[in-house]
């Protein structure tokens, strides 16, 4: 597998702020990669550097084997971009919008119509973009990014400011877009999103990539204890503390919470005593990884 993106020692500053501060990154072809970080972590700036919109102060970026700066017309038809804002032509309908983008890329309008169908906007085809909901606008903007069937797409916070339903709705769409071997780079500040969609995740804060790995490896690397919640009345606190494998137990509104590094053994014991009613097991998530890495409050 050759690299779709190679970033070496990349840095850029705005005045005193080091927006991107010595980033190294490699994305393989066909990979779905997430860049995860709080607002202001430098995700968008990193993406803009990789897309070739900004001149880096230092370092190099190669995309699909080509340099991205200065503006590289050979590269542009091979990549698709969705920017953070809804970048649409004012007062055009959904169909006119995607047809315009199709023309800019020299693609037949019919391809635009296919994409409208794929993102579920056929019944909104004659609605002006100003009349679309947040989720519909994002779907249209993704369709516009993909209308020319690029090898690599960049999606900058596609689910920001969407309600939970619209977010999950969009995940189904996003999960399918690298089926055909397309490489996808997505920024988000939602942990669950990165966990569900991405092959690998780069955790970013203050302009640096703190760690990059698969979500599972990141969570494993954290080595955090699991938390098992037992419904109220099932277990007394002193009983709970006496169970083998339990490191600590605390009482909460939901019942007794057991903290353990050996959840399998504890659950087996609870099962043997027939105390499994309402049991909930929570292992560490990407969010825990993130908080551990940044050492700060999560500022989504």
């Amino acid at each position: 597998m050759s690299a779709a993106i190679e970033v070496v020692d990349l840095a850029v500053s705005y005045g005193d702020v080091r927006a991107v501060d010595g980033v190294n990154l490699e994305v393989a072809e066909g990979e779905f990669v997430g860049v995860l970080g709080p607002n202001g972590a430098g995700k968008t700036t990193l993406l803009e550097l990789v897309e070739g919109l900004r001149r880096p102060d230092a370092g190099t970026v190669r995309v699909l084997g080509e340099p991205v700066w200065p503006r590289n017309p050979r590269l542009l038809p091979r990549i698709g971009v969705q920017l953070q804002a809804s970048s649409f032509f004012e007062r055009l309908t959904t169909r006119e919008q995607i047809h315009t983008f199709a023309s800019l890329y020299g693609v037949a309008p019919a391809r635009g119509d296919e994409w409208l169908e794929r993102v579920g906007l056929v019944d909104k085809a004659d609605t002006r973009v100003e009349g679309l909901s947040g989720g519909q606008a994002q779907r249209l903007s993704i369709a516009c990014a993909l209308v020319h069937d690029p090898e690599l797409v960049f999606l900058d916070e596609p689910t920001a400011a969407l309600d939970p339903q619209a977010r999950r709705n969009l995940w189904d769409l996003l999960a399918g877009i690298n089926d055909s071997g397309r490489t996808v780079v997505l920024t988000t500040h939602y942990m669950d999103e990165a966990e569900v969609l991405c092959d690998r995740v780069a955790v970013m804060d203050a302009g640096r990539v703190l760690r990059m790995d698969t979500p599972a490896a990141l969570v494993r690397g954290l080595d955090a204890p699991a938390r098992i919640t037992v419904a109220p009345g099932q277990l007394r606190l002193d009983e709970a503390r006496g169970l083998p494998g339990v490191a600590d137990a605390v009482e909460s509104l939901d019942g007794v919470v057991l903290v353990t590094r050996d959840p399998a053994r504890v659950v087996a014991r609870l099962a043997a005593e027939d105390r499994l009613d309402g049991v909930r097991v929570q292992t560490a998530t990407l969010e825990d990884v993130f908080l551990d890495l940044t050492g700060r409050e999560y500022r989504a």
């Binding site: 919109l53 503006r71 542009l76 007062r91 055009l92 047809h99 983008f101 023309s103 800019l104 890329y105």
Partner: protein, 356 residues
Amino acid sequence: MTGLAPFRALSLAIVRGFLRDRASVFFSMVFPLMFLVLFGGLLGSQGQSEVDLVRVGEVALLDEMDADARAAFDDTFEVTRSDDLASAIAEVRRGDADVAIEMRGDTLVAHYTQTDQVKAAVTQGALRAFVDGTNVAQSGEPPRFALETERVEDESLDTIQFVTPGLLGWAVAMSAAFGAAATLQGWRQTKLLRRLQLAPVSTRTVVAARVAVTLGIALVQMAIFLGLGAAAFGLTLSGSWWAAVPLVVVGTLCFMAIGLLAGALARTTEGAVNAANIVVLPMAFLSGSFFDLSAAPGWLQAVSNVLPLKHLNEGMLDVMVRGEGPAAVLVPMAILAAFAVVVTLAAARIFRWETA
């Protein structure tokens, strides 16, 4: 990678965006036309008002006039009869009439008011001419000298003739500046500019599409103005009016540049449109778009000469109604082109891709 298809797609997108924006269409098309209707309709139909004349007692002079002279007299004066000189003079003093005339023997005595100096002069001159004319006629000799007057402007130079080019200049300036300012700001704010930068279209194609649409709008404005002026208000164009077309094209580019500068300076679309307004509206007043500047003080005329709109207006007046040859637009075009280049360079210098 300049292709015809991207150019057409972008132009179409801009045209649609413009036509669907009621405020833009109103301010660039309907609003200036309202002024044209106002000036052309109201002021044009007013014409020269007649002089109210009170005829006291018998006035032999009027009765002895021949038919031609009588007709001319009736065109100038609105005659009422009275038998009481004192009340007729009181009427003139109150301003209800402009002049009262009586005969004292063979002398025509006119009691006039100086309130309206122009009317007073017209009254005295006209009455003197009628007296002289009647004297000549009575002498039986054919008159040896004749007078024929010809105005230096085109003979049909009514209000509409003066007003149409000026208002058209204002309309073109406004829509070119607003269109450029609002597009630049709007596209920058939604990051559409960035998005287009990442599409395989050259900046040249994007600029060309915007320029083409603005020029198209300007030429449509011109067609509507001249068509409506000619059809409804009796506008007659002089021979080389077509030379105004290239002039309007260069003028449009000049005001697009001013709009670009406003758009590059402002941080919001509203701010950009306001900035364009602050430049264009006072300029329209100072460039004679709404009224003739020839009576304005010298310093004001000096100021107006540094404004590009003044040169657009003057050039259009020259070829459209003053009957000058096509060469009259060359200097204004050169001035407008120079403005366009300088202002575009300034806008390019301060341009930023984003409003951050």
